[in-house]
Every structure is written in structure tokens, then in C-alpha cells.
Symmetry: C2
Subunit: 331 residues, 2 copies
Amino acid sequence: MKSREVALASRPVGMPKVADFEIREVEVPNPGAGEVLVRNVCMSVDPYMRGRMVDRKSYTPPFAVGDTLTGGAIGRVERSNHTDLKEGEYVESHLGWREAFVASDRGLRPLGELKAPASTYLGILGMPGMTAYVGLLEVAQLAEGESVFVSGAAGAVGSAVGQIAKIKGCRVVGSAGNAEKVRHLTEDLGFDHAFDYHDGHLTQQIFEGAPQGIDVYFDNVGGDHLQAALNCMRPNGRLALCGAIGQYNATAPVPGPNNLAIAIGMGLTLRGFIVSNFNHLRDHFMLDMTAWITGGQVKYRETTFDGIDKAPEAFIGLFTGANTGKMVVNL
Amino acid sequence: MKSREVALASRPVGMPKVADFEIREVEVPNPGAGEVLVRNVCMSVDPYMRGRMVDRKSYTPPFAVGDTLTGGAIGRVERSNHTDLKEGEYVESHLGWREAFVASDRGLRPLGELKAPASTYLGILGMPGMTAYVGLLEVAQLAEGESVFVSGAAGAVGSAVGQIAKIKGCRVVGSAGNAEKVRHLTEDLGFDHAFDYHDGHLTQQIFEGAPQGIDVYFDNVGGDHLQAALNCMRPNGRLALCGAIGQYNATAPVPGPNNLAIAIGMGLTLRGFIVSNFNHLRDHFMLDMTAWITGGQVKYRETTFDGIDKAPEAFIGLFTGANTGKMVVNL
């Protein structure tokens, strides 16, 4: 059988272009002994993948030109020669942006009985949801009743951050990229204040939502957002550095915040993290988040594209603000 | 009797000038009931005072033009109307850069029997020594055997940082501003590697001293030093943000490190602090540091100026690299 996959055709310079990606067709072999054939049902589209398209040392090696891109995916076992992996079972993998593939159990995580639609395991019950959970509760050590600012608040991670903070009795301010997202944050997700960062005046907007300043900043954007957040921090505040989507497409080094020295006098802690270093909290996360979703305390949205040939467009959309909530490609 | 004091004549713009200070003579009254007359024997000259000369909100209010500057001082009780403060006793105060003053016991800390020369209580046994101690052991959570980089390493804080790290079995790299200071760090204080930051190539120099990278960076300088340190951090590294002497005289906002996003992938923690928030560790500090000094494990130097009229020159010298170890004005 044939499967299409998405390869890196060239390293993007600045904003990625569709031509930086190649959709190619490959032959999928029959599963051998102990192997399964998996057909993916949806693929995750995440900002961090942009970093891997640059040829530099990081916590994961860069993609090579010609490589099949890898991101999270949920698939179903279509044929199985493995005793523990049943046909029809859902599995999560990071084995490539492809329609179908053959693998041993290595790199496959069976999802058991689904508690929500399959794509949810790429979003609120997956990496982005867990990123919000560990970043807020473990990295930033959020305490009940504090004030929180989250940037990129309408994204998959940001929207979870805000809602978890509300569950913890916190005041929540969020920034997003257009009026509809701002409305979504305050009217649908219960944020206390939200604003469109294109307005400028980031510092003023944060103070408008949190006049006493903020205890925790969850940074998805970097740059001007981080600088503004520093202006608003309360003593002993914590800043969870999760992402810097505002500079992923920069073609030259971007200056850091010019007010970092505020951290000295205010006793601030800035802590960077990647979610894969917090796998010991996965069970807690799954229990809490499943309960919050089931109880209606956490809502989630997806922005979907259909067909693997649309994956490059979906990916580019992350940087143009095309998504509210999790960006998913359905196959 | 008369006493001279140092007042702020004008807010310095850029590098402070002698004319920004005024030495003036005032009449010291007789001590009233419960009061003492203190004659200072030495005054502390510290970089952080530069920040208070700027009119902006910070952890301590700014000096007003015309104010007597305040910094640490050690004095002797010359006349006492206080039952617990004996004549001849040494006291530490932050009651102004003055030769003599009258005060109640408020703001006076009796030093008891001196374990070292009086000026030591402004340096290695005082605020700078304790800053090094809490910054390294509490803020940066230094562990035995790690690799440490400290900037401003020949200063009062930096030289203590390096020596404490050596006591903890760590590899220590330091930067300083001239060849004699570099020699002092490696030959007298036991640093594993030291370099003159004027050479440029900060990142290379740090890696030369710590080829596997550094676990802890103790930042006294900010700017290019912080940026270079970020390039060299190992996973889960900690950066204690103590000072930014490299930018205290800047006349425009200084861009932050352009590589702060490294903190995300490497899981770094940057934590700012001021020593006065760690007074609960004072007894531990005094015990440890007194033992280290007595045992010869920690050495210290002072750069001294004589006479209160030399205080402005001493202060300016902090920013021109005039001091090795603690800068003190003897009265």
C-alpha cells in the first residue's frame, strides 16, 4: 500500500513557505513479526517544530533536509503481528508526519479506551495540555488566588493555562492576536481580562487586568511580551518560559528584554522548561485534566485542516494566528 | 562637635562625577536619653548605591538630591546614654555616609567582640560576603562538584563566590578587568581559570575553563557576560542574578541577552535576589564564613581610600575597576 508523508524540502528562512515542504508518496511494507501497521487519523501541528528546521544544536537534533518531519500523531492499528497491540486500538506516536507506517511497539503509546475524541490526545489531553499543567503548577509554582498573565492565550497551551489558573482561583489576563480570540478568552473561557497585542501598550493592558501586578507569567511569545510582563511582576514572581513564538521566524538574533535587571530587585525567578522533562507528572495530569474536561471546567477548541497535503499550510498558520486552540491535521 | 557627610548634589548621568557629590559639615548634637554618639571608623562603598541615584521605583526608594547618601558603616560608640550599648563597642549601621552621628538603638547592630578587623564586617563578614553565600548556596542551589562561572570575580562579592565554590569542591571560572586581577584569582584565590573580559571572546573563555559547560552562573555584570554564560549552561543550570554593574551607568535601556530562549530547551532557572530577603540565613553565614576565614580557606582583600572626602572617588572607582576585593573608606 501507498502512504503520503511530509518532508522538509528546504530550511525555511523567516516565515516558512509551502515550498519548504514536500509531500511524497512511499510504499508501506507489510508488518513483519512483532510489528503493526498503523494508519494515522490525525497529526499534531506545533510551533516547536519550527526550531527543529534550523540547523543548530538544541534539546532535539535538527531535521535534515529531506527528512520526514516528525510530530505527534494519533493512529489506529490496522494490522497487527504484535501480541499486545490489537487491531482497532488507538496509539500515539512521534514517528513521522505520515498517513500510515509499520513499526514495532517501540515509540508507540497505546491510548486504551478513549475518554474523548482521538484528536484531543494531541491537544488538551496531550502535549499542549500537559505543558500548561506542569508549566503553571510545577515550574511556576502557582498558588491559589494569585494573578497570572499568559501570552498566546488563545493557543492550545495558553487557553489551557488560563483555565487551569481559573480553577485554582486566580485572576487571569491573556493576550491574543485578534478581537474574536479576545472575545473567546473572556466570554467562553472565563479570563478576567484579555487584549489584542496589536494594540501595543502591553504593560498598560496587563496592569488593566491585574492592577496589583502579576505573580506568574506564562510565556509563549517572548520578546515584547516578556519585557512587558517583567514590568508588571510582583515581588517573588515566577516566569515560566515555555516558548517564544514571536521570534521563531527571526532571521537575526532578537535582543532580550531590556529590563531583565528588574528580576534582581524584585526577586523574580525565570525558569525555562520542556514538557518531556516532567513525565513523572503525567498520571496526575491525565487524572486532573480528564476530570476537568468531563466536568466542563476546561473547554477546548481545535482548528483543523483536512488531508496530509494541507499540513504545511496548517503549520504556517501557527505563525499567522490562524488557529484558536489546538492546530490539527485530520487524515 | 562637627561631622562631615556625603550628600547627593545631582543625579549622575552616565558615569558619576565627583561634582555629583557634596561633602558638607554639620553639627552633631549631644546624645539625648537612650541615645548614643557613634563615630564611624569605615564606610562601605557598593555598586548597588548607583541604582538609588536614579529617580525610579525599585526595592529601595531613590535618594533625593540633597540627601545624605546611606551605605553600610562600622562605627564605635563614643558616648552612650543607652543601657545596652557600651562606650567603645562596635556597631554596624546604614544611617548615612557620615563621620559621626547620634542615634537610638534603632538601626544599630552591635557586632560584639570583633573576630576580624572592623572593615571586614563591611566585606567578607558583611553584606558582600553574605550575598555570595546566599546567592551561591541558596539562590543557585550549588551542588558539590559542579562547574561555576562568576563575573566581576575580583570584586568583594565575586571573590567570595569563587572561594566558597572551591570549598564546595567545584570547578570555578572567573572574569575580571585586568591582568593583575586575573593573576590574583588563579594564584591567590585558587580559581581554576580566570580571564580579562576585555579580551572579548567571553563564551570561548568560559568554555576554556569549563569545557563541559557550567552548572551555575553568578552574575554581577549582566549584558554580554550574561549572554555568554547562557551559551555555556548545562541542562538544568541555575543563574543567580545578583547585579549588572556593566549597565548601571547606561543612559538608555540596554538590550537583554539575545539568546534567552536557550533557557527553554536547557531547562535553566534565572533567579534574581537581594541579600536582605535572606536574613534567616545570617547565623549560618556568620558561622561558616568566620570558620573559613580563620582556617585560611577564604582570603579577602580590600581597596581603601582614606577620609570621607575621598568617598566619591572611591565610589566612582567601583565602575572603573579600581578595586580588588571590598572597596572601603577609612575614616
